[in-house]
């Protein structure tokens, strides 16, 4: 399995505060992704990266930003958290030759 770790695994915060979730990989995969999982919606893509400093928006990117300064790390930032951003967030990396995604354990964020 790809070595993908997310931190923090659980976080409770208040509306209006900034939040950063970190994803770290040890597989040297070029592509990295942030998804959110909500009941009835499956996993929806927030942002993704196709290389260092190369990122693009997914289908639910409003209110989120990302940064990737190193191959290993992909950060997701909520500049001013809202209750609608309460969710479970998954980071994933992609194996180029098969297209398979490898996922982190998920980060549960609660915005009060």
């Amino acid at each position: 399995d790809a070595g993908i770790t997310q931190s923090p695994r659980h976080k409770v915060t208040e509306t209006g505060t900034p939040v950063t979730l970190r994803c770290h990989q040890t597989e040297n995969h070029r592509y990295m992704y942030w998804y959110r999982q909500d009941p009835g919606h499956g996993l929806r893509l927030i942002h993704y990266s196709y290389g260092v400093k190369d990122t693009d928006k997914g289908e639910v990117s409003d209110g989120y930003s990302v940064s990737r300064s190193k191959t290993e790390d992909f950060l997701l930032t909520l500049e001013s958290a809202t209750s609608s951003q309460t969710s479970v967030y998954f980071c994933a990396t992609r194996q180029v030759n098969t297209g398979e995604l490898f996922f982190g354990e998920g980060s549960r964020l609660t915005v009060l």
Binding site: G42, L43, Y48, G58, R94, G99, L101, E105, G106
Partner: protein
């Protein structure tokens, strides 16, 4: 944009029986990948099976097999000899090879009963 639809929010099956989960997708691409992922209560996402669209032969992995109907844009998952450990949320996903992004369906919660 791609769309993936799973029309069965919940399903149940008796242990040792066979169950089929449905998935349809829409894409304008000629080449793409299709996947089934499993998410047990641990929340970890696990790849179950993968299909390349240009291959006509249906993929098989032990008790898991797919029925891939390219013209109908259908990609169903069949689980044979269901086991209690198969209880999980199952997600269908498609990826455009040109875009390198996976689009997921809403998920089907499968419960295997003893």
């Amino acid at each position: 944009a791609q769309t993936v639809t799973q029309s069965q929010p919940e399903m149940s099956v008796q242990e040792a029986e066979t169950v089929t989960l449905s998935c349809t997708y829409d894409t304008s691409e000629s080449n793409y990948y299709l996947f089934w992922y499993k998410q047990p209560p641990s929340r970890q996402m696990i790849l179950v099976i993968r299909q390349e669209a240009y291959k006509q032969q249906n993929a098989t992995e032990n008790r898991f097999s797919v029925n891939f109907q390219k013209a109908a844009k259908s990609f169903s998952l069949k689980i044979s000899d269901s086991q209690l450990g198969d209880t999980a949320m199952y997600f269908c996903a498609s990826e455009e090879t040109s875009g390198s992004r996976l689009t997921f369906g809403e998920g089907t919660q499968l419960t295997v009963n003893p």
